[in-house]
Amino acid sequence: MSLLDDSRLVVLVGAGGVGKTTVAAALGLESAREGSNTLVMTFDPSMRLKDTLGVGEAARDREVRVAVDTPGRLDASLLDARKTFDRLVVRYAPDEDAARRILENGFYRNLAGSLGGILEYMAVERLYEVARENRYDRVVLDTPPARQALDFLEAPDRIIDFLESGALRIALKPWFDEHGHLRATSRLGPLGRGVEGFLDRIVGLDLLREMAEFFQAFGPLFDGFRKRAGQVQELLRAPETSFVLVAGPGEERVSDTMFFARRLREAAYRLGPIVVNRLHPRLEGSGDGARLLRWLGERDHRGLEALKSLIPQDHPIIPIPLLPEEPTTLLTLEKISASWCQA
């Protein structure tokens, strides 16, 4: 079977270390082989797709052609959160001065890159850029590893919540007078005073001042953020988008896999095939030397059976065997996609 069906956006999710990036690359290759112009995007900070597809630093700025002879074009890109953020600032700031004020702000330079959700949000912005340009028949999206939450997918909602929560209004109000002193304000009532007093005591004024300047400079950009975040959410929940859940082998991973599957369904994303990666084969015959390998094969198949018993019968679960080589060449990626085509 094919993992692709007619999805135009395929999103890979799963825990760390299960081989999401490898499966993404193999899917991209299969898609291009079927004749679709395809982009594989990865956000993994370890930049592993770079190794697998042989794309270098240039892929941080733009899509890079993968050297492979397929009917459809295969491109790859790497998300660099900082560069995407900088590009957004330049593109959407009202004028050059405003852009410079943001880019030179100390808070932005040092800390904003990891402000709660912003990193994942940049991934969403990048996806928006690519979707809007509409240069590909299919986009395969690798996501950062997540254990607890689908952080990446929740980022747009979090940002929208944030924009609508009133926090921004508080951040944007004139905290500081022209001498750089914190204004004593009573407009927000006891809660505002309590929070302000707390912030003052706990983080000190310097950071607060830089943050306020940053958000004041950034304010005009936020409306566009909200609009785009909403559109990306629509795209992620569109019928032509599917989520491929990649899982590790073995019984101990089943609860992780079920957790992801449940979260995806609850959030109304379309769950496509579940891929159980790196399965040890079942070993025939006897012999003492084979004991370890037999045990591994039994363990992995026990896990597969346990998963099957928990997932509705008609939902595709695709086992991919552990290969005798590392998935670092295009040839190996082909072997991987061949294994699900046979399934």
Partner: protein, 298 residues
């Protein structure tokens, strides 16, 4: 001095590595060995879904410090608790605490502020080894750190935060924690990995980042899940081709690692046990002699 002597002198050991390489197992195994050699050890986790308790065969810690063995304690520090405890300490009035925690400014700025959580986790470890905050007397905290990349972020956070916030209680805490983690006599790093191409690549990168950004070397590397060498007879068995090839990959990657790292390294075999107390016991049995082997003076 043996590697175990060296580890025993530390106040904090951060165990790091990419996802799925057995970081929690290494954390638990090192903890048990040090605890049984006379140190009082706290294993610290920071995961919404805690897992160390399963290896130690005890109920979940649920955020509290719980005893797993006579000298081995366990705590899963919930990320949200870490920060709200800092708030609680500075705002003694519970009503105000609740209002601050519920306010959008807290949730989006302070709760999400970069580096605060990391400073709070490390700050908690520092308080524990100092015997503060009602904790039992602990000699060493072993922290099961988030995956690679984040491991460096974790250790860098205190100095970044203390630069960004020179004053106030958070700035003060960050500075103190930065001093603690940069002291190689008190704080060490262990890296867990697998002998496969990607994990080894990330280990090499992580080691480089530790060196370049924190001027420190890991205390040890633990290479997990190695396929054992095949006997001469088994090498001829065509059914074992996968094993042979995976072993070859392990050897090649160990060699590549060896070119980049000549410090302490412990190799652990793939063992036929499900993840759980039996696997931990089997790993401890193999880790113990390796830690007790003599080691050159640093």
């Amino acid at each position: 001095m043996t590697l175990q002597d060296r580890l025993s002198r530390l106040k904090l050991l951060v165990v790091t590595g990419k996802g799925g390489v057995g970081k929690s197992l290494v954390t638990a195994a090192l903890g048990r060995i040090l605890a049984r050699s006379g140190r009082r050890v706290l294993l610290l986790e920071n995961d919404p879904r805690e897992s160390l308790y399963q290896l130690l065969d005890i109920p979940p810690s649920d955020g509290e410090i719980v005893r797993a063995e006579p000298d081995l304690f366990l705590q899963n520090l919930r990320p949200t608790d870490v920060l709200s405890n800092v708030v609680r300490e500075h705002l003694k009035v519970e009503l105000l605490v609740r209002r601050v925690l519920a306010s959008p400014v807290y949730q989006h700025f302070v709760g999400g502020a970069p580096g605060f959580k990391e400073v709070a986790i490390l700050g908690h470890a520092l308080r524990v080894v100092r015997g503060l905050g009602g904790a039992p007397e602990i000699d060493i905290v072993i922290l099961d750190a988030p995956a690679t990349g984040h491991g460096v972020t974790l250790l860098l956070a205190p100095s970044l935060v203390s630069e960004a916030i020179p004053h106030g209680p958070v700035g003060h805490l960050a500075r103190e924690v930065a001093g603690f983690v940069s002291d190689t006599e008190r704080c060490g790093v262990a890296i867990a990995t697998l002998a496969e191409e990607m994990p080894i690549q990330e280990t090499i990168e992580l080691r480089g980042a530790l060196d370049a950004r924190l001027s420190r070397q890991p205390e040890l590397l633990v290479v997990n899940g190695l396929y054992p060498p095949l006997s001469d007879a088994d090498r001829q068995d065509p059914r074992l081709g996968l094993w042979r090839e995976r072993r070859r990959i392990n050897e090649r990657e160990l060699e590549r690692l060896g070119e980049e790292w000549d410090g302490p390294k412990i190799e652990l075999p793939l063992l036929p046990f499900d993840r759980g107390p039996d696997l931990l016991t089997a790993l401890v049995r193999r880790l113990e002699p390796a830690l007790a082997a003599p080691r050159e003076a640093p």
